[in-house]
Amino acid sequence: MTTPFLQIRGLRKTYDQVVAIDHVSLDIKQGEFMTFLGPSGSGKSTTLYIVAGFQEPTEGQVLLNGKSLLDVAPNQRNIGMVFQRYTLFPHLTVGENVAFPLRVRRRPEAEIKAKVDKMLELVHLGGYRDRLPGQMSGGQQQRVAIARALAYDPPLLLMDEPLSALDKKLREEIQFELRRIHQETGVTILYVTHDQEEALRLSDRIAVFSQGKIEQVGTGEELYERPTSRFVAGFIGNSNFLPVKVEKLGSGRARAVFPNGQAVEGDASAFASGSDGTLMVRPEQMRIRPGTAVGQELAVTVRDMTYLGDSMHFAVQTPWNQELAVRMAVRDGQGLCIGSSAVLEWDTQHGHVFA
């Protein structure tokens, strides 16, 4: 077993009485695109800033290739970083900004020139060498920042919400660029964002942060299909949360009872242990069909429907007056209108019960 490329071990940071992060541990493989996803104040940026060296942990360890980073000053860590706001040096041209990390390392002039050309090529800004940052758009500035952060071939690139100041279209454009740059350079990236779509689009793996702790680590698919907590289920993708009581039935089966006494049965492994809980079903996993419910079928009323082009969005009301979201192909929604009675269905393996 080789040592992981970057190890974050039991990291803890407190300010006075406030706990910013609480025993965060994570291993990151070389070349991996790892995203820290979470709402603001969840500790994702604090963790990143400790890796960068701008903050010191109260407890814990950060190891790069098995060696501690904590005793190394930020300027000796040889890490690349792109910040939330464009932090280019406003008095230097684009070329000089990219050359900056090489100049402070006193590399020979010929090498600097070649490297600056190569980096500007990488971010598709070849003709912008002599521009000043103030003369460029936000997206261009952020691409220069990426070129500057990669100019000295750092083994690790940190990105602190680098696209949050850009509009949606530019954001998607640079996300695409980032994936390409990641593939071309093979650099390990630690990326912080609060945008779940961005995280899904970019990452090999995602660590979901909440209240200073990592809730779950996994690929986007794992987090979406098999969330281990209500928080992760709610943060990644849209979800319906139905209040249930779980009853074990024996022989590996269990059932979840809704407030009105109706129930669904399923494999016990899909039903977390514990009695009271929440059943989570994604809107696109639910179906409704016109008609009256028979037996254990769930009767709902259509409250609202929205045509979204590639799909239909329904808001339906349950017998216990909860509103749920259902998303279906347009043709499957035919025969339904606002106010009509319908039957709600989903496959039991798509239901997840959390305590």
Binding site: P74, R85, F89
Partner: protein, 294 residues
């Protein structure tokens, strides 16, 4: 905007564009009048006297720039102003930086101290320095008590005293504009420099100083120009042996009634000041100020 309308809208727009500028000039008229009556006219009168008294000609300027006594006064003036500017910069830059990065509660206290000292009567402050710096003053006694010196140093009635007193008085005039410049610099720019591998010294030299240059230049120019014409502090702390230009002018007018020579001296001072200002405008005003839109 539709093209059909453009032929009629363009003149209207142009008039509108001129509007604020023209109004601005109108608003400036009272100030311009005030300056014309109380600044331009006296200066011209002075210039006139310097070339008309006692007889028409440039003899006042010849005397001023030819006599060793007067040249020494010029030398003293520029040297003191230069040294004061230098020391003020060395002390003021860290102070302004500290004010820019410290928590707001503390910077407010620091500002209050800075401004209170600025608002205290100049004479009172200068006399206070005389008391502190004299042979048996606090500074000499402390230095002797801790064994740095054996005999009291002569700190007043010479240019050392003038420099100390002036530096103290000029400090706020540098710190205030510099602080404004420094506070506009995004702290993460310096973080970026650090993560790029710059040492503290490199970050200061390659990032912070270039970005602070407009503030440094305007603050330094302010201090230098004010120091050139300063009267009270040099007069009280410098004694009679080490005269500066403002004192010379006062003496020429009050004791010797030589308005011509005094006018020449004042005019030379004004020309030098305007020249410095022009240099600053040429090299640091507008264009690449480093503080472009972000």
């Amino acid at each position: 905007m539709s093209t059909a309308l453009s032929s009629t809208t363009v003149p209207v727009r142009r008039r509108f564009k001129l509007g604020p500028g023209a109004r601005g000039i109108k608003l400036l008229i009272p100030v311009l009048l005030l300056l014309a009556v109380f600044f331009l006219v006296p200066v011209l009168a002075l210039l006139l006297r310097s070339i008309m008294e006692p007889v028409p000609g440039l003899q006042n300027y010849v005397e001023l720039l030819g006599s060793q006594t007067y040249v020494r006064v010029f030398f003293n003036t520029f040297m003191v102003a230069g040294v004061v500017t230098l020391i003020t910069l060395l002390v003021g830059f860290p102070t302004a930086w500290l004010l820019a990065i410290m928590p707001k509660r503390w910077s407010q206290v620091m500002f209050a101290i800075l401004l209170l000292s600025m608002w205290t009567n100049l004479l009172a402050r200068t006399y206070a320095w005389m008391v502190l710096l004299q042979q048996t003053g606090l500074v000499n006694r402390v230095l002797m008590a801790i064994g740095v010196i054996d005999e009291p140093l002569t700190l007043v009635n010479n240019l050392i005293g003038v420099t100390i007193g002036m530096t103290y008085i000029m400090l706020p005039f540098l710190v205030l504009p510099l602080h404004a410049t420094l506070r506009a610099i995004d702290p993460s720019t310096l973080r970026a420099a650090a993560i790029c591998g710059a040492s503290r010294w490199q970050a200061l030299r390659l990032v912070l100083l270039p970005l602070a240059l407009p503030g440094i230049a305007s603050g330094a120019l302010m201090v230098f120009v004010m120091s050139l014409g300063y009267y009270v502090t040099p007069a009280l702390l410098g004694g009679t042996g080490y005269m500066m230009l403002a004192e010379l002018i006062a003496q020429l007018v009050q004791s010797l009634l030589n308005w011509g020579l005094a006018g020449a001296a004042a005019f030379v001072l004004l020309v030098v000041t305007l020249g410095l200002y022009a240099v600053q405008l040429r090299y640091l005003g507008g264009g690449r100020s480093g503080m472009g839109d972000r």
